[in-house]
């Protein structure tokens, strides 16, 4: 009897150990480190305990605020644009035309390329003299654009690169959602007199909504953590124009050698992402609860 009750935990045991070691330990370590004034040359035990000083300092640090603002701006702009383009493409390509499967495969290629490579590729394309963009502009007799050297353009450039890489993610999820829509409901809408556009607006988008919301949140969480592409393209510059939080954390740890401050920033980022994740979690809970309520009501009716 006792053994029976314990059985599930015995099976769960290995997974719990691995989770604790791989996930909880680093997080705990990070949280602990955020209370320290810790130089990489010291053992963690030698570091000075400073309590909440790191948090207080950062809360008043203008460049941290700037980084936070760039991150928020970057994440919201890329996610909105990626959602619009990704869903739009999915709506356009959801049809059976010859060669469509090949086209779909090509569309999702950017997502499979390593971020470092994406960064390098775009850096060369944005190169002020030999890059394809400025060369083309020059061929057309137009002024070259300071892609990575002007604040506004640098931000725009990293946004474009991110959109290029991550729109396919939204595209494939939106396409999957579209293809699982009930065909007959769309046919009924055609007979009811809905134009293509009205079908999209009144039937397709509302029915895709649950998938789109989850996709949007996943993408948002990811966008807050973007690092490699921007690191390679601009290294946060010019000035702080493209210094997103992940990049600032990396630089604080490696260049400024302040592990405690870096850990504190990570904690701020973690808190932000937790808010988003809980948002998603509670959204899912709400949807499930609603479905259960609906089910129950329908069953009561049958009785």
């Amino acid at each position: 009897m006792n053994l029976n009750k314990l059985t599930p935990y015995m099976f769960l045991g290995p997974a719990i150990v691995i989770l604790a070691a791989a996930l909880l330990y680093p997080i705990g370590y990070m949280i602990y480190a955020s209370f320290l004034d810790w130089n990489p040359s010291q053992y963690i035990g030698e570091a000075e305990w400073v309590g909440l000083r790191n948090y207080g300092n950062l809360a008043e640090d203008a460049s941290f605020h700037e980084s936070m603002w760039v991150t928020l701006k970057f994440a919201s702009i890329v996610v909105v644009l990626e959602m619009v383009i990704g869903v739009g493409l999915a709506l356009l390509l959801d049809r059976n035309i010859r060669g469509m499967s090949l086209l779909r495969t090509i569309f999702i290629l950017p997502m499979m390329i390593a971020p470092i490579v994406v960064g390098l590729m775009w850096r060369y394309m944005y190169h002020p003299t030999v890059g394809i963009f400025n060369r083309t502009l020059k061929d057309w007799g137009l002024e070259p654009v300071p892609w990575l050297s002007d604040s506004w353009w640098a931000f725009t450039s990293v946004v474009i690169a991110d959109i290029w890489q991550w729109t396919p993610f939204i595209f494939i999820l939106a396409l999957a959602a579209l293809q699982s829509l009930p065909r007959s409901a769309l046919e009924a809408a055609r007979i009811d007199g809905a134009s293509e556009w009205q079908q999209v607006l009144y039937i397709k988008i509302p029915l895709m909504m649950p998938v789109l919301i989850v996709t949007c949140l996943l993408r948002l969480i990811d966008a807050f953590k973007v690092l490699e592409v921007i690191l390679v393209m601009t290294n946060g510059g010019p000035g702080l124009a493209t210094e997103i939080l992940a990049l600032r954390i990396a630089r604080t740890a490696s260049e400024f050698r302040e592990l405690g401050v870096a850990a504190t920033m990570s904690n701020y980022l973690l808190i932000l992402l937790l808010i988003l994740t809980f948002g998603m979690f509670f959204y899912n809970k709400a949807v499930e609860a609603r479905a259960a309520r609906v089910q129950q009501r329908a069953e009561e009716d049958v009785k």
Binding site: A188, I191, D192, R297, A298
Partner: protein
């Protein structure tokens, strides 16, 4: 109500030809039932009329105007789908009023129409529920209501009752028949269930292999099938088919085979005089095989099983190697294992060509 006419309708999906030249004319306000096995093309016919499938060749006329190039919404028709095709994110009222809202009709008119139809269908108290909160029968009614609210001149039904349980199906069948009487609109109805076809249709169109096998009133199809397919499809239990031969006995043509010899009617005798010795398929309905030997028209049955259905009993018998069903009144039925001789009246014997399967 407009008259719908299909002329030489051909439909191909890539290399597969599904419809092979459908010609069909429906009278005004007629209840037309397209019936056939699954995959016979009946739903494709309905969907081309609806405009959900394009026409490969041929034309659809409504009051002599060709419509095959029109979008579904411009064809003045409403459709009820097999899986109801309700909009899952809209409540009942929104589902029913979707078409009217797209047309931007006045709000009070929409409200009145939805309320009227909902009351008629017994849905008035469910107007704020979503489809997932309704039972199968209620969803079916909402689908019906959505079509009715439109006030279109033609209603298309694609197997609307096949997802319901038997009891509800019978009830909805009756309601549909009443609705047709009341509305007096064109109705085109697709089903694989020949009982639905017989009970609902003014005209039944039997489809098989992408061509119309026969069309006509239910009684005509039952009594006068044009070929073996229609004969076997219409009627329950299904018609028995026996291999036989036309031979002359005592100066009369008879249909003779292992275990049976049937007299033919005078009319048949006269018509088939030249066909002596010909191999034929003999069709006899289960109810036409009657107890008691009748001189000159007998069949020897080896009773295998009896199925008691209340007032009737179905005997499952063997005649030679062929299974034959006999429908009799319950009462003095032979036991399993018994061999009995029964008879068939000459006018109940149908003959079909062995090869073409056409009625002789």
């Amino acid at each position: 109500m407009p008259k719908i006419r299909l002329e030489n309708l051909v439909k191909r999906f890539r290399n597969v030809q599904v419809l092979h030249g459908i010609n069909l004319e429906m009278e005004e306000s007629e209840f037309t039932v397209l019936v056939g096995l699954s995959g016979c093309g009946k739903s494709t016919i309905l969907r081309t009329i609806a405009g959900l499938e394009t026409v490969t060749e041929g034309e659809i006329y409504v009051d002599d105007k060709p419509i095959s190039h029109l979008e579904p919404k411009d064809r003045d028709l409403a459709m009820v789908f097999q899986d109801y095709a309700l909009y899952p994110h809209m409540n009942v009222a929104k589902n029913m009023s979707f078409a009217l809202r797209l047309e931007r009709r006045p709000k009070d008119e929409i409200e009145r129409k939805v309320r009227d139809v909902a009351t008629m269908l017994g849905l008035a108290e469910y107007l704020h529920r979503k489809p997932a909160e309704l039972s199968g029968g209620q969803r079916q009614r909402v689908a019906m209501g959505r079509a009715l609210v439109r006030d279109a001149s033609t209603f298309l039904f694609d197997e609307p009752l096949s997802n319901l349980d038997a009891k509800l199906r019978a009830k909805m069948r009756t309601e549909l028949a009443e609705m047709h009487k009341m509305l007096n609109k064109n109705m085109i109805y697709v089903t694989h269930d020949q009982i639905e076809a017989m009970t609902l249709g003014d005209r039944i169109v039997v489809v098989s292999g992408g061509i119309i096998q026969q069309q006509g009133a239910p009684q005509e199809l039952f009594e006068n099938p044009a070929n073996k397919f229609v004969a076997g499809f219409i009627g329950t239990p299904a018609m028995n088919f026996l291999d036989g031969e036309l031979s002359e006995v005592d100066g009369r043509v008879k249909a003779v085979g292992t275990g049976f010899a049937f007299d033919l009617s005078d009319e048949q005798t006269a018509r088939l005089n030249g066909h002596r010795g010909k191999s034929v398929t003999v069709g006899v309905r289960p109810f036409a095989i009657r107890p008691g030997a009748h001189a000159g028209s007998t069949i020897d049955l080896n009773v295998k099983l009896t199925e008691y259905l209340g007032s009737n009993t179905v005997l499952i018998c063997m005649v030679g190697d062929t299974e034959v069903l006999v429908e009799t009144e319950s009462g003095k039925n032979p036991e399993s294992g018994e061999t009995v001789t029964m008879s068939v009246a000459p006018q109940d014997v149908l003959l079909f060509d062995n090869k073409t399967e056409l009625r002789l």
